[in-house]
Symmetry: C2
Subunit: 195 residues, 2 copies
């Protein structure tokens, strides 16, 4: 589909509008107003509002999934992979904050469409497999369900979209390192001294 | 405000509809259809759609905050408080799943209104204070930011609303215990062996 020269602005405006008003509460007209175009001009390049949603969420979602597939398939200790997963997630959040916020708000873990449910499931499964590999290698303790570890970590990372401020005291990468570190120490084979 | 005898059904229908279509995408008419009442009958008891949202999210949000205030103020080790916080969160999710899902979807960490931002901030601050108290008592290691620990744990717990299935293999309480355990081992003063 040919794209207007202002296509990137349109997608950025859609991300802002969907994040603020919710996808269901926002109209193509709201996006047009935000970017200063006529609604009709936007409809020259998309068929439905959903095309705008997909344009917003596809780049971060596909990048996350691609990086996660590579990570899971690579050699190396599971602990390093968990760290790299958290960093990849944080980088995507830094690079695409409003876009990822829309993804988390509208799609992640919500049963909206088969395609998105499949992407979601794959991401969770890849994280789960990394945790399982760490358990099999006796790198991680194995008295916790890998799926719960994976979803707990993904929840913490996705939650960044609700509180992380790019102009705050830490970079997303520093926050991700602390989250990964907590998780890895939580998986440590040594017994805890607290609780 | 007087409430119809079917008020609880109306609120349950609103939770279902807001969860599925998003608050902004759902109308009072959708809620009326879901519960099998006329829109006008619902408007006899509410003034705006927002009244329905508040009826959905207030009970779980207020219970969580009340329990958290009590916990933070109580005596006892910080580790026990973290465990009890996760259990309180899980119980509220079990008792009010669609309601909490709407809260997480529409309000938590989103800058919607001063009132909700204040509740949110208080909940995070109480969690943060528990973590700080654990660090001050040398119960937890202190080389991680308490705010990141608090938000990471809250993110994991809130994320339950996107994946937890009441008919799944674990109760919400069992999942919460595993999440709290991971967090507490992550905060353990012993060095980790992995990574």
């Amino acid at each position: 589909m040919p794209r207007p020269s202002r296509w990137d602005d349109v997608v950025a405006a859609a991300a802002k509008v969907f994040r603020e008003r919710g996808y269901d509460g926002a109209s193509v007209e709201d996006v047009a107003d935000e970017v200063g175009m006529l609604k009709g001009s936007i409809y020259n390049y998309i068929s439905t509002k959903e095309d705008l949603l997909l344009a917003v969420v596809r780049p971060p979602a596909e990048r996350l999934l691609r990086e996660m597939r590579d990570l899971e398939a690579a050699d190396g200790p599971a602990g390093d992979k968990i760290r790299l997963m958290a960093r990849s997630h944080a980088r995507v959040i830094e690079d695409f904050l409003p876009y990822v916020a829309v993804y988390v708000q509208e799609l992640a873990g919500r049963q909206t469409s088969d395609e998105w449910m499949a992407m979601d499931r794959e991401y969770v499964t890849l994280a789960e497999r990394i945790v399982e590999a760490g358990m099999e290698a006796d790198e991680f303790r194995s008295d916790v369900r890998p799926r719960i570890v994976a979803l707990s970590l993904i929840g913490s990372l996705n939650w960044l979209t609700r509180w992380y401020q790019p102009d705050g005291p830490e970079s997303a990468l520093e926050v991700a390192d602390q989250i990964a570190d907590l998780c890895l120490r939580g998986l440590s084979v040594r017994p805890a001294t607290t609780g």
